[in-house]
């Protein structure tokens, strides 16, 4: 499974706010150069996971972990400043909201080199030269014009490309994309995803895609993790996961998408109930209340089951109900 | 863990003192405020027993005059701002909802009103309306209309593009219901904040008017008037000016801090949700 050294290694991460647990006992490895997809709906904790990694948690949220290694540094014992420096030097982040990073009152050239200058001690001129080169790489024929534009003069797809270029400024080893295509039109979505693939091929950067769009993850990631209510319920190579999903939630998720071959009049498969906000600290299976196969063994402490070939599942009865779905 | 709201705390503390003095003045005054006693004139604060803040040039007890003055000041402040707020809200709301030529005329008039500095406007109005307590109230009330009208007008126009307003229109909600059920809950926090700030300004303006002899007339007590009477003796007996000055300072600062504090709780927190 490892295509190289481990860039990020997390063990037993538990994130909680003042009132409740958000993420429980999460393990995560990101290897060099890999294409990882993190699938989950709202409330699954994927955003909180990402914010913890980047060390920008919300005000009242704190975490604890057994181990948190990033790029060779032990982040549990690093000061805030050092952690921030590690993140800034090694991670590039592409947000969902394309205007997130871009100051509406400054031209692109006045902001694109900020991180470069503050982390790399390169001069502004070097930064802008690199920016121009990167803008060309992400597909702009006329980088000068883009550099002189304001963020609101660009379309959503163009802004996302600028975000990607900005994320690449510091030559990161890891690119994290949070729902990078949700706000974009269909055709543009494909272009952006193809761009991510091209970047990964050319530079060997690891790309982590966080999304609720299973179809997109299936096409573009090589390994996929599925999150539900703050836990990682299944992980494995994309091929294995999509062909033979073992966790009932993963199967249910694939079944609820209205496919183009579905007959009108046929009901869509539903997952009854809602994602639980509270009660996540329990050791038992958190999906059990909504699971059609739940039984007595599901209310005892769960262990992660290794199904071979890098495929693992947090379920007392993995693979139950067969492998057909929908 | 959360920072205490110092604006609110300090503002309330200052106002508590002022309001306590005002309320107390109805039940107990150390000395009758308008009675002159030349035998005990120019007493320094604490010099004689009973005169905590001393006496003025006519032997009147300063503390008593301050306490009585607080009544006038608070009355003028609240009444004028309330009147101005009501008029301003009605004008602003009607301009925003009716729009058209009526809306344009009203808002241009309001903007014209805002072009004058408050105190200057008050002076002009008092010249027309007449001196004294009620003249001051009317003058200050008129110039308070403008900020409220603007606030209501811009807020309603902003909110019109909100989805819930569009949805409300889709099932036939009329303008009056929109005002009472949709706009008002959003307006209320801002109105409260503006009210508090306006009372602070009103007190300031009243002090200025009384200082110039256009507000409360002697022998009645008003802090501005006390300052005016003290200005002749400021070099010889500075304490004559300190007490009323401090009172004005506490009241105005108190209301403005309260306004900021309310702003922090009501508005900033809401917009973070």
């Amino acid at each position: 499974m490892s295509e190289g050294r481990k860039l990020v290694s997390i063990r037993g991460l538990t994130v909680s706010s003042a009132h409740r647990v958000l993420i429980k006992s999460l393990d995560l490895d990101i290897a060099q150069g890999e294409l990882l997809g993190i699938a989950g709906e709202s409330g699954s904790g994927k955003t909180m996971l990402m914010r913890t990694l980047l060390n920008i948690p919300p005000e009242d949220v704190h975490f604890k972990a057994d181990a948190l290694q990033m790029f060779g540094a032990d982040c549990l014992h690093l000061s805030d400043t050092d952690w921030r420096r590690t993140v800034g030097n090694h991670i590039g982040f592409v947000p969902q909201n394309t205007m997130f990073y871009l100051h509406p009152m400054l031209r692109i050239r006045q902001q694109i080199a900020d991180s470069y200058v503050s982390h790399r001690k390169g001069t502004l001129r070097q930064g802008l030269a690199r920016a121009e080169a990167l803008l060309r790489e992400v597909g702009f024929d006329d980088p000068e014009r883009v550099l002189n534009s304001y963020a609101w003069e660009l379309s959503g797809g163009m802004r996302q490309r600028v975000n990607i270029a900005m994320a690449l400024m510091n030559s990161p080893e890891l690119l994290i994309a949070d729902e990078p295509t949700t706000a974009l039109d269909c055709a543009i979505q494909r272009q952006i995803m193809d761009l991510f693939m091209k970047i990964s091929r050319d530079t060997g950067i690891a790309v982590v895609m966080i999304s609720h769009d299973l179809g997109m993850l299936q096409q573009y990631s090589r390994r996929t993790l599925v999150m539900y209510a703050g836990r990682m319920v299944e992980s494995g190579s994309t091929e294995t996961l999509f062909c033979t999903p073992a966790h009932p939630y993963t199967r249910a998720l694939m079944g609820v998408i209205p496919s183009l071959s579905l007959q009108a009049g046929q009901r869509l498969a539903e997952i009854p109930g809602y994602v639980p906000d509270s009660g996540r600290e329990t050791d038992a299976c958190i999906f059990a209340p909504r699971c059609p196969y739940a039984g007595a063994e599901c209310s005892t402490a769960l262990q992660e089951q290794d199904l071979g070939g890098g495929h693992s599942c947090l379920c007392a009865k993995p693979g139950i109900g067969g492998h057909d779905h929908g | 863990m959360k920072k205490p709201n110092w604006n609110l705390v300090l503002g309330c503390a200052l106002l508590l003192i002022v309001i306590a003095a005002c309320l107390l003045s109805f039940f107990y005054l150390p000395y009758p405020p308008n009675v002159m006693d030349n035998a005990h004139a120019y007493l320094q604060p604490g010099q004689a027993a009973g005169h905590l803040l001393g006496t003025d040039q006519y032997g009147r007890d300063i503390l008593s005059r301050i306490m009585v003055g607080s009544r006038t000041v608070l009355l003028i402040g609240f009444v004028s701002v309330s009147g101005g707020a009501v008029c301003g809200c009605v004008l602003g709301a009607s301009a925003a909802m009716i729009k058209g030529i009526y809306g344009s005329i009203v808002m241009r008039a309001i903007e014209g009103l805002m072009a004058f500095p408050g105190t200057l406007l008050a002076l002009m109005l008092v010249a027309v309306v007449g001196r004294g307590q009620w003249g001051a109230i009317l003058a200050i009330g008129i110039y308070t209309i403008a900020p409220f009208a603007r606030l209501v007008y811009t807020l309603i126009l902003e909110s019109e593009s909100l989805l819930c307003i569009k949805a409300a229109r889709s099932f036939g909600t009329g303008p009056l219901r929109l005002l009472s059920h949709y706009y008002l809950p959003v307006l209320l926090p801002r109105l409260l904040t503006q009210f508090s700030a306006s009372v602070g300004s009103a007190i300031m303006t009243e002090a200025a008017l009384s200082f110039l002899g256009l507000g409360v007339q002697p022998p009645n007590a008003s802090w501005g008037l006390m300052l005016s009477e003290a200005k002749q003796y400021a070099l010889l007996y500075p304490y004559l000016a300190v007490a009323p000055g401090a009172a004005i300072f506490m009241a105005v600062l108190g209301f403005h801090l309260l306004s900021d504090g309310l702003n922090d709780i009501l508005i900033t927190r809401r917009s973070e949700q």
Partner: protein, 270 residues
């Protein structure tokens, strides 16, 4: 022959983007809707699919009377809605309801759910008695699968899916003939989407409502609609049954939409 409930004839909507500085004369326009003609029959679901900027939401709002078209006209049961009397207009308003994309944003955040649900009954003057209004609200609540405890809560306390159920209940409480669903499921998670789509279909069977279903997601429109119209740059470029439009798209843009969407769907359906 099914009755035509709502009809748009050559609808045009233009927004001024540039005005002369002093005279205010409009120099440049942006045409959001450019000559759109549509019919909605009783009991059917008409789907409008298009990307952002295609004019589909504006068309939906014009058809429901929330926006005035710059050109063309909207006919409700054969009559131009601009010529309706007060009484007739109230009938029209009562019979055309909306469910919007942002469930929480479409509700008054300072009111309780039971008041939000009952509001159309009050403003459309359907039920003057407050007690009876609350009764109806309770009925609708259980009709859309929500517990009664939801009634006393505020929109901020509910999830997106629950709020959208309330929005649907509110749209149906006046017993309309037409509900315009403007990207009604786009902001919801996939699993919640399925619940809401199933609910919409169930309610349609029970209450014989027509839907004008607007979405950018072609697979959702395909699932919901009896007829589909594809919009691009304010024009309808293709119209017909889902099989006709999606199996044999005549237009290159429709084909592109399909390719995109199909490629994204999990390949396990192959």
């Amino acid at each position: 022959m099914a009755e035509i409930l709502l009809q748009g004839q050559e609808l045009v909507k233009q927004f001024p983007v540039q005005k002369a500085p002093f005279t205010g004369r409009v120099l440049k326009n942006f045409t959001a809707v450019d000559g759109v003609s549509l019919e909605l029959y009783r009991g059917e679901t008409l789907g409008i699919v298009g990307e952002s900027g295609s004019g589909k939401s504006t068309t939906g709002e014009i058809l429901g009377g929330l926006q005035q078209p710059t050109g063309g006209r909207v006919l409700y049961k054969g009559k131009d809605i601009r010529t309706l009397s007060r009484q007739e207009y109230r009938e029209f308003r009562r019979n055309v309801q909306y469910v919007f994309q942002d469930p929480k944003g479409s509700m008054n955040a300072s009111e309780r759910i039971e008041n939000i649900l009952a509001e159309p009954l009050l403003t459309l003057q359907i039920e003057p008695d407050a007690q009876k209004r609350t009764e109806r609200a309770r009925e609708m609540c259980s009709l859309v699968g929500l517990e009664e405890s939801v009634l006393r809560k505020f929109p901020g306390e509910l999830s997106g899916g629950q709020c959208q159920r309330v929005a649907i209940a509110r749209a149906l409480i006046s017993e309309p003939e037409i509900v315009v669903c403007d990207e009604a499921v786009s902001a919801l998670d996939v699993s919640v989407q399925a619940q809401i789509l199933n609910l919409l279909n169930d309610l349609q069977k029970r209450l014989q409502v027509s839907y004008l279903f607007i979405s950018h997601d072609i697979s959702v429109v395909n699932y919901m609609a009896d007829r589909i119209a594809v919009m691009l740059h304010g024009k309808i470029i293709e119209q017909g049954s889902p099989e006709a439009v999606l199996q044999n798209p005549r237009n290159a843009y429709t084909r592109q939409l399909l390719d995109c969407s199909f490629a994204k769907k999990a390949n396990h359906e192959l």
